[in-house]
Amino acid sequence: MCLAIPGRIVELDAQNSNQALVDVVGVRRKVDLGLLQDEPPVPGDWVLIHVGFAMSKISEVDALDQMRTLTMLGEAEAAMQEVRGYGLEHEEQGSPGQRLKQ
């Protein structure tokens, strides 16, 4: 839950200024930008994501470092599962809870 997942801003949401599409190692998901409103990121910026919210801007080098840390900690798969689980888009694919794994 306290994972910090690095992602790159792909595009800002034209309809909802609070959201942006991010790329996390090839997986694209919407995240909430509300916690970065004092220094809004632009496409190309790297951010650390906590529970679906971008929390801080970081450099590309630090983003790669962070992904490596997650891999070393054995948390990379959990991080990707978390990112894939963000359900802000894809209304038609049903609710996130339907992906509940036992």
């Binding site: 839950m1 996130p96 809870g97 509940l100």
Partner: protein
């Protein structure tokens, strides 16, 4: 040699270990607390304890949100969700945490509508998609996750979404550190400060630990070298007789924290007069509750909560382990009745819990960089 290749700079790790040995006064025993459960996980996973001399002891702190949550709060949340047309939504970490009559996952097996969400924003979306039901988000976490819950409630209010509420169990790290320092059976020399909590609160809130308590604090990153460097920085201060707050994790943690996140928390939350923590008991002003201006989105103000208080299973010594008084393996249930597969206590559930970390990496003792180097 399992983890050796994964280190970017194995030679630097070895050097850091040497430097720590050089800095540590052989006539002194150092007790350093890593506050954050993420650090506990990293320390076991990387076998960093094996790199430290015997007189530099790491004590595991209370920074694991599911570990410190008393069982009564889980029971309260589950009893609320037993109402008809309720959806209980929580992070995956919560799902296997035992309540008196089972974990959320076991309640799901008995028919409760329990959903894993990865973000509070997803719980809000569940509410939008299920207008005939009430979605209760079981909110846990320190200052790392509290701002996200706050923003989600702000969004719910702005949207006028009335079938959504949060059962707020957010806690704050500073009062927990104070409680630990106040406990008579705990002597500590310094703190490895939490990394991601500090992205929100910054470094200033730790000032009193240095100024009033005379203990150094180094806010740390999560890579092996980050943690070793933070221990070096602490030992340097202790050697010089200094006590100040330093930031080893500058690349992510701004000294002032994240003001937008703090504003969101201030808008939605206020301090509870007191809150119960597993192991630490009642700590005043140590948790957040939802302000009256958001009462409609607060499960506790909107519904009647039983206010259950239960003690942990008698044989389990979660509290003593949480306080750092016992090591995980000293608990009578450790590795026998209580395992990650069949957890009795919450510390065995979360990867940030010291029992799970100890069980996975120490109890089963894989080859780490430290003991590989010795072979």
């Amino acid at each position: 040699m399992k983890y050796v290749d994964e280190f970017r700079t194995p030679e630097l790790i070895g050097k850091a270990g040497d430097e720590i040995r050089r800095l540590a006064d052989p006539n002194r025993h150092y007790r350093i607390m890593e506050v954050c459960g993420g650090h506990t996980h990293a320390i076991y996973r990387f076998g960093l304890k094996d790199l430290l001399p015997d007189n530099v002891e790491l004590i595991h702190g209370p920074g694991c949100p599911v570990c410190v949550l008393p069982m009564g709060r889980i029971d309260d949340g589950l009893s609320l969700a037993a109402q008809p047309n309720f959806i209980f939504a929580a992070f995956g970490d919560m799902m296997r945490v035992p309540g008196t009559h089972g974990s959320p996952l076991e309640y799901k097996a008995r028919g409760m509508d329990v959903r894993i969400v990865y973000s509070p924003a997803d719980a809000l979306k569940l509410a939008r998609n299920n207008p005939e039901k009430h979605v209760m988000f079981f909110a846990i976490g320190f200052e790392t996750t509290a701002p996200s819950t706050a923003l989600t409630l702000m969004r719910a209010k702005a949207e006028g979404l009335h079938n959504f509420s949060a059962f707020c169990n957010h806690v704050t790290i500073i009062p927990a550190i104070r409680a630990i320092l106040d406990s008579p059976d705990m002597r500590l020399d310094g703190f490895v400060g939490p990394g991601h909590v500090s992205t929100v609160i910054g470094c200033r809130p730790y000032d009193w630990i240095a100024k009033d308590e005379g203990k150094p604090v180094v806010v740390s990153g999560f890579e092996p070298l980050d943690i070793l460097q933070s221990i070096m920085m602490l030992l340097r201060q202790l050697r010089k007789g200094e006590a100040k707050v330093e930031n080893q994790y500058k690349r992510v943690v701004p000294w002032e924290g994240n003001r937008a996140a703090l504003r969101a928390m201030g808008e939605v939350f206020e301090l509870r007069p007191y809150f119960e923590w597993r192991g630490l008991g009642f700590i005043s002003q140590s948790a957040l509750k939802i302000r009256a201006s958001y009462a409609e989105w607060d499960s506790e103000q909107r519904f009647s909560v039983p206010g259950v208080r239960v003690t942990d299973p008698k044989a389990a010594q979660c509290g003593e382990v949480l306080k750092g008084v016992l090591k995980p393996a000293q608990c009578k249930l450790f590795g026998r009745e209580c395992t990650p597969e069949q957890p009795v206590g919450a510390l065995m559930v979360s990867s940030e819990g010291s029992c799970a970390a100890y069980y996975n990496y120490e109890h089963r003792k894989p080859v780490t960089i430290a003991n590989a180097a010795a072979n």
